[in-house]
């Protein structure tokens, strides 16, 4: 049996996908040439002041609710003071003692074992800029300054790299599911620091821990945990004392290296930011945000399979993409054939760009036989091009199915008269021959006949011959 176990806590930073930054009106998304997505406020020019973007509070609270946290009624912003060229004000506006969310948890399943991992807190803060090093010197790019972040701090409940991985995967799934971030480690919209110590199995004390920073993939996180655990065991076995420090992981050598020792680390001199007012979330705010929290992804999947009778593969495809799943959910209860709705949506390359009401209307027109199964694609094309009411587009494009039985009667008679061979085949027992006749009916009605109705009518007439 193993002699040591790990005690791991994770600090995860996630960029919130709000339209604008946390304290100014600059766009919050990635991209743009250096220093083109910033203003005097996020560049910390003398005299400027921050104004809190309430959308950031809403997004963070929704993330907290998804992670079973208690959401504060009173919260505030604090200044974390330190000097660095990518931090224009020389302080980061963050939260110290009144975080927005506390006491959450998520359940993970590792090798069939259920484990609940506690979440200590989630707070909101601003991101810093980026240093760009070139041949002619270093520059600071402020585009990322003021991008809203949440920091999710776990309890030291994690014991293995596999649990850490499961925790992060589930965290990512849930945050994406609630729709406040895309959580992409490769682009930096999700980042993770690992706090790790070891202790003899059976011990409950916490020993000296190290922090591994700047890990940018799940693979590296898992490898770094294993490497750091091995190092700490080696040091302890060799009788050397561990120091509390920040380390980095080198994937080439599969080892961690010391970055700086904690004793000459910063004293951040936190204090409440006097430029900002306390964040108050009323009971009404709580209720409004609570109403936006979706059921869990696995509950949704079960509902699609059992209630809407979707094939498992279809249900999974929908649930893999939170935006698509939410769109589907918004339309599903207003249609007669949820399966048809799913098929129509999945047949479209960009379903999320079309409102739920339009999807519901298209589905219902199809299932009522008012348009045929090939009409939605044409209607979507027209809708994307010029917008407008679907009902009007149906008329404009002449996509209404022929409901006029008089006309259909006449066409059917014509077709039967003009195709004696197919008629003879059918009468001789070749049921497939009716397809040729159907094709003719559709051709003569320019596709406007309701196929079901036309087939019935043909069968009726042939039976009488």
């Amino acid at each position: 049996m193993a002699k040591y176990e790990c005690v791991i806590g994770l600090e995860v930073h996630i960029e919130l996908r709000t339209k604008t930054k946390i304290f100014c009106d600059c766009p919050a998304d990635h991209g743009g040439d250096p220093n083109t997505r910033c203003c005097p406020v996020c560049m910390g020019m003398p005299g400027t002041l921050p104004v809190l973007n309430r959308q950031v509070v809403d997004f963070a609270a929704r993330a907290g609710m998804m992670l079973n946290c208690e959401i504060a009624h009173f919260s505030k912003m604090d200044r974390k003071n330190y000097f660095y060229p990518d931090l224009p004000k020389a302080y980061q506006i963050s939260q110290l003692d009144h975080p927005l969310c506390e006491h959450g948890w998520i359940d993970v399943n590792v090798n069939g074992e259920e484990k609940r991992i506690g979440i200590t807190r989630i707070h909101i803060e601003e991101d810093a800029g980026k240093l760009v090093h070139t041949d002619y010197g270093s520059g600071a790019d402020c585009n990322r300054c003021g991008v809203p972040l949440i920091e999710i701090v776990s309890e030291p409940d994690i014991r293995t790299a596999a649990q850490a991985r499961a925790y992060l995967e589930r965290l990512r799934e849930l945050i994406r599911w609630v729709g406040v971030s895309d959580c992409q480690m490769e682009t930096g919209s999700m980042r993770c620091d690992v706090n790790l110590s070891i202790r003899p199995v059976g011990d409950t004390k916490l020993y000296t821990r190290t922090e591994i920073k700047n890990l940018n993939s799940l693979k590296h996180i898992v490898a770094a945990i294993d490497a750091e655990k091995a190092r700490q065991i080696d040091e302890t076995e060799a009788g050397r004392e561990l120091v509390q420090e920040t380390r980095r992981y080198d994937p080439e050598k599969d080892k961690t290296y010391s970055m700086r020792v904690k004793e000459n680390a910063n004293d951040y001199r936190y204090f409440p930011d006097p430029d900002l007012v306390p964040i108050i979330l009323t009971d009404e705010d709580h209720a409004r945000l609570r109403a936006m929290i979706p059921d869990l992804p696995e509950e949704r999947l079960a509902k699609y399979i059992n209630e809407y009778k979707l094939p498992e593969a279809t249900a999974k495809t929908l649930c893999d993409e939170p935006k698509l799943a939410n769109l589907y959910q918004a339309a599903a209860d207003t249609v007669k054939q949820p399966k048809l709705l799913a098929n129509l949506m999945l047949a479209d390359a960009d379903a999320v760009s079309v409102p739920a009401a339009v999807w519901a209307e298209l589905t219902n027109l199809c299932s009522d036989g008012k348009i045929n199964r090939s009409a939605p694609a044409k209607l979507l094309e027209a809708y994307r091009e010029k917008g407008g009411e679907i009902a009007a587009l149906v008329k404009e494009l002449g996509l209404e199915q022929v409901q006029d039985t008089g006309l259909l009667n006449a066409v059917a008679d014509e077709v039967i008269a003009a195709n004696p061979k197919a008629v003879a085949d059918y009468k001789a027992g070749k049921e497939a021959a009716i397809k040729a006749l159907m094709g003719q009916v559709m051709k003569r009605t320019k596709g406007a006949a309701n196929p079901q109705e036309a087939t019935e009518l043909l069968k009726e007439k042939l039976a009488k011959l």
Binding site: P46, G47, L49, P88, A90, P274
Partner: protein
């Protein structure tokens, strides 16, 4: 009487009656500056070209009937308030050549009103000081007695008004920086309720105390300027939502029934006897005008000075951290690495008093000291706010000296920061409470052949500006 000697009300009438143009007023004011400012040093920057441009706009407004009370009126701006494209130095080597890329809210408001900015005025570096001697760029003299300081930190603004180098000036008051120089120079200065005037574009010293306000020749002028600059501004989270800005409303109404308290702590030890006598005379005059005067007590005021210095230095240490030589402003030469660049830049770029307050602020916020200093000071602030609230349940306003002494000689106290700080004892309680207070001239003290102006202050509860102006105007009517 020369235009530059007139108050806003008189100039406004001349402009409205087309007896003078804004351009002529600007020319006259610029001439006055050229004639006398070599002696007084009120201005750090004279923006002649921009003044004429603004005067042209004002003349158009006057012609097309969109003019208001301040249209065409020449004024001076304290140099810690941002003016787009016009250097804003905070009287510091750190920002000696800094050109803001945006206008402060106050700058916008005054432009909108058609007022004509003549230039930017000297001050204590980053508004830290009480004599303007902490300016790294220039010495300002008191126009009433040139060997004496004009007070501070808005010393340049007060001196510019007193020297008739503008019709009004804008200052900022963190611990008395409008009221004390107004008292020393013999002009009217208002520190409004916290949140009345947007701080957007005011280079922050201590954010929870800083408040912009007007310095003028008369009380009525002062109310007019405050009406123009106060507004709700969504860019400042501490800006108050919609509120009544009709500050002139009560001027001229009689004072009967008004209750004014004289807190005895303001008249005790350390207060110059001549100053106390002048302030007592002012109280008598107000009594004569119909107010009921009564002695009262505000013992919590003894916490004010230490609490103020702890809190404002803490905020300043963080607010001034952005001046690191990386993006704008002064950068030291010859630093070998980043840490040394920060240290050298900030050591060379800031003056002694600024460095002292930054160090003090960092100390009180340090791990292990926070509870003993910062937290305790916040508690003292809360106690003081409560004590004020209690007094205002009995009195409409309080009357007190602005400073324990009249202006002192240049160089007399600049070597003793402690004595300088004690001079703020009468003004800082107002800032801790976020309250409005107005400084009104009430006579002079003769000293070494100079006649040194003295002011008293009226302190009211939040949003009582209109009442303060009412009482101050009544005093002005019957006073000195």
């Amino acid at each position: 009487m020369r235009y530059s000697e007139m108050d806003i009300a008189a100039l406004s009438k001349l402009l409205q009656n087309k007896e003078v143009t804004a351009k002529e007023l600007a020319a006259d004011a610029l001439k006055a500056i050229a004639e006398t400012d070599g002696q007084f040093g009120a201005y750090l920057t004279v923006a002649e070209e921009e003044a004429y441009k603004q005067a042209e706009i004002a003349d158009k407004m006057l012609a097309d009937g969109t003019a208001g009370a301040l249209t065409g009126i020449p004024f001076a701006m304290k140099d810690n308030i941002c003016t787009k494209g016009i250097r804003t130095t905070c009287a510091s080597k750190m920002l000696e050549n800094w050109l803001p890329v945006y206008d402060a809210c106050v700058t916008e408001q005054l432009k909108k009103a058609g007022a004509v900015m003549l230039g930017k005025t000297n001050m204590d570096e980053f508004a830290m000081g009480s004599s303007s001697e902490n300016s790294a760029l220039q010495l300002t003299r008191n126009p009433a007695a040139p060997d004496y300081v004009p007070g501070g930190s808005s010393g340049g603004s007060a001196a510019a008004v007193a020297a008739n180098e503008c019709a009004f000036a804008i200052g900022s008051d963190t611990g008395g920086s409008i009221r004390q120089p107004a008292s020393f120079c013999g002009v009217v200065g208002m520190k409004p309720t916290y949140g009345t005037v947007s701080r957007y574009g005011l280079v922050a010293y201590a954010s929870s105390f800083d408040q912009i306000g007007p310095l003028t020749k008369t009380v009525a002028d002062n109310a007019k300027v405050l009406e123009a600059i106060s507004c709700h501004d969504r860019r400042d989270s501490t800006s108050l939502p919609e509120f009544d800005t009709n500050y002139s409303a009560l001027i001229g109404k009689d004072l009967s029934g008004m209750r004014i308290g004289l807190p005895k702590e303001y008249f005790g030890e350390g207060i110059n006897a001549d100053v106390a006598a002048l302030v007592q005379n002012a109280a008598k005059a107000l009594e004569g005008a119909g107010a009921k005067i009564e002695e009262c007590s505000l013992p919590a005021v003894s916490y004010a000075l230490p609490a103020y210095y702890v809190l404002c230095c803490a905020e300043a240490s963080s607010n001034l951290a952005r001046f690191d030589g990386i993006r704008y402003g002064y950068r030291a030469e010859g630093a070998e690495d980043l840490d040394r660049l920060y240290r050298k830049t900030r050591t060379e770029g800031f003056g002694r008093e600024v460095r002292r307050r930054i160090l003090l602020g960092n100390y009180v916020l340090s791990a292990g000291y926070y509870d003993a200093y910062y937290k305790k000071a916040q508690q003292a602030r809360t106690l003081l706010i409560r004590a004020f609230r209690e007094l205002f349940s009995q009195y409409d306003m309080l009357l007190a000296p602005v400073a324990p002494t009249p202006a002192y000689k240049i160089g007399e106290k600049s070597s003793d920061p402690m004595e300088m700080a004690l001079g703020d004892i009468c003004t800082v309680p107002v800032n801790l409470g976020g309250l409005p207070a107005i400084s009104v001239p009430c006579g002079t003290v003769a000293q070494d052949g100079a006649n040194l102006p003295v002011g008293f202050q009226l302190i009211g509860p939040a949003f009582s500006e209109a009442k303060l102006y009412q009482a101050a105007a009544a005093y002005e009517e019957c006073g000195v």
